[in-house]
Amino acid sequence: MRELKILVVVLFFTAVVYWGVEPFAHSQMHPHVAPADFAFKDLGTNDKKGNASKGAETFLSAGCTGCHGVASQGMPSPMDDAAASASFGVVPPDLSNAGAIYDKHFLSALIKDPTKALKVEHKFNETRPHPMIAFYGLGGDLDQEVADIVAYLQSIAPIAPLSDKQVFQDACGRCHDMKYDKTMSHSDKAALTAYMGTLPPDLSIMIRAKSDEYLSTFINNPQKQLAGTSMPRVGLTEKAQNQVISYMEKVGDRKKAEREDLGYKLIGYMVLFTLLAFAWKVKIWREVH
């Protein structure tokens, strides 16, 4: 009975210390933020119904291909990586998969006002314009033209689901390395550093450094967790963002399945050991008590 009382005291104080230095301290250091918003409510919606074939023409006339490649439609990037890095700081994305991984309202808003959609207004302004030029329309209804372009991008997006790694490379891989998966960004490091203000971190084991909650709100809207960061909002759909996180976990926590499987075995072994030790202890102490 006395032993139980002592055990309760020890467990109680251990639990208080644990609660204080882990959940409580972290809640004080990293306040909760609103959950990820995959509707991008702050950007409004474009209710116009897009026409894909019209969009294909608008896409060409608007000059998108001056910077962007669309490899799946036989349109290679107009510049090689080195030249693109030198001109823009970062290699502009190929748009073959854009319709599949980015939210359509986000894409509409992006085409019309890149700095607002990307949430980088604190970095770019009239004296330092964002490398992506806002689309002011071809003279018709701007919202209709934008909706057409988005419909076009969606129409050319691959039907077969993209792999987690493909989504990561499209959405994150232009700036971030994934060294442990031997995948490096195509942008020139020096140009990228100058463009972003700091070299975007390698993401190989970022999954171990940040919690799920942090990653899901951060990728959805970097300013929420890290005000003033130069990382743009990416505009991924919920599904695409989950694929990105799942890829990060595959690379950064490769042994998770093995760890959990072995965990049960190790615990099972120790439980057995403990039961045997208890039986032996009872036998030995019967003689002396």
Binding site: V17, F24, Q28, R208, G263, W280
Partner: protein, 418 residues
């Protein structure tokens, strides 16, 4: 030379050459431990088990770790965690054991304080134990630097910088410790040496002395009762086992310890595989970057109470800089436990705290105050937090100033009674 006869078996052969039977008696089967104990008396063996885990896992990690600021991070997080078969297991075991061992050290230490096992002949046990605590702290700190993550670097930066506060030699001392003007490659390499060679050697030596120091005053019991061990041992050997107040270390004492170790390791492996963030801080999975200061810099949980004493004084007092007062308080906190046997002025009477009313209150106040310091040591020291930290620091210092006084009163009262 001894007369060597033809051996009757392996044990006899060994006994004639190494006196193993006598050795086993002295160390195991006739090493007497009081019977009146509870599971807190198993913490020594739990500590020994965890230390063995640290040594074995450390040896495996040493096969792949590279002590170079350009290679260290990837050698840990890629080679060991991903490439080497079960490398992650050894790393998780090493990291979690390093954290858990401090919890058990604190339990062991507070057990000693509660039952008065630090005085009346047991001073050397306490002193070697506290020396072990000190060297273990250095071992933990140097080990934390090795993965060269963000907190490895910034904790090293902050802690080595502390030595700069020592008068006259501070600045030179910091450079001497770092081996460079900044925390750099030279710092990592020398802390690697300390972590894998010098400190473990000192720890092994201290453990031996700690055990040796137990032999003469004997292990305490939960009523702090004093009795004649030889007489009780004789009873046991004559077969009056139930009547005797002692049991042999092997197999009786250890049979209970194995059970406690079993429970401890069950919890340990749960933590290793499913719940390790408390011991392997996520922020250290970002590589060290001397251009990017983390938003919150804090030591591992077991250093938090003394860290909070360090930063508890956040304002200058009477022209003395807050930092210098803090440093002095920090120095005080780190040596004061060592002096416990000499601060307790009721030297000739050993009793558990519940039989020492004033000491009982002192004990629980100390424990609660250290938990408050620990929790606030991690929180950002702003607003009300800073004042709670300041208050808890003052309480900590005052408690140790009061200890000689209340134990003196206790001794006087007991003198009056008898």
């Amino acid at each position: 030379m001894a007369e060597i006869k033809k051996a009757t078996g392996l044990m006899d052969w060994l006994d004639q050459r190494l006196a193993v039977n006598g050795f086993i008696k002295v160390m195991m089967s006739e090493y007497w431990i009081p019977k009146n104990i509870n599971f807190l008396w198993a913490m020594g063996v739990v500590l020994m088990s965890l230390f063995m885990i640290l040594i074995v896992s450390g040896i495996f990690l040493l096969m792949y770790y590279k002590p170079d600021i350009k290679l260290a991070f990837d050698s840990v997080n890629y080679t060991i965690m991903q490439e080497v078969e079960y490398g992650w297991l050894w790393r998780h075991m090493h990291g979690v054991a390093a954290s858990v061992i401090f919890l058990v050290i604190y339990i062991h230490m507070f057990t000693g304080i509660y039952y008065g096992s630090y005085k009346k002949g047991r001073e050397m046990i306490w002193l070697t134990g506290m020396a072990l605590f000190g060297i273990f702290s250095a071992e933990a700190f140097s080990g934390y630097m090795l993965p060269w993550g963000q907190m490895s670097y910034w904790a090293a930066q902050v802690i080595t910088n502390l030595f700069g506060g020592i008068p006259f030699i501070g600045e030179a001392l910091v450079i001497w410790i770092r081996g460079d003007f900044l925390v750099a490659d030279a710092t990592l390499t020398r802390f690697f040496m300390l972590h894998v060679l010098l400190l473990p050697l000192v720890i092994l030596l201290l453990i031996a002395v700690h055990f040796y120091a137990l032999r003469f005053p004997h292990v305490n019991n939960q009523d702090s009762e004093e009795f004649d061990f030889d007489k009780e041992a004789k009873k046991y050997l004559e077969g009056r086992k139930k009547e005797s107040k002692v049991v042999p270390f092997w197999p009786v004492f250890l049979s209970k310890d194995f059970f406690v170790v079993g429970i401890a390791l069950t919890v340990f492996f749960y933590l290793v595989c499913f719940h390790y963030d408390f011991a392997m801080d996520p922020i250290n999975f970002e590589p060290a970057n001397n251009m990017k200061t983390p938003a919150h810099i804090y030591p591992e949980w077991y250093f938090l109470w003394s860290y909070e004493v360090l930063r508890g004084f956040f304002f200058d007092i009477g022209g003395i800089a807050a930092m210098d007062i803090g440093l002095a308080a920090f120095g005080f906190a780190n040596v004061i436990f060592m002096l416990l046997p000499f601060l307790d002025r009721n030297t000739m009477h050993t009793a558990p705290a519940h039989k020492r009313p004033m000491f009982f209150v002192w004990f629980w106040l100390l424990l609660i105050d250290m938990i408050v310091l620990t929790v606030y040591g991690k929180l950002p020291p702003t607003g009300a937090n800073a004042w709670v930290g300041f208050g808890a620091t003052i309480v900590f210092l005052v408690l140790f100033v009061l200890l000689p006084i209340i134990t003196k009163i206790e001794a006087k009262n007991e003198g009056a009674e008898s």
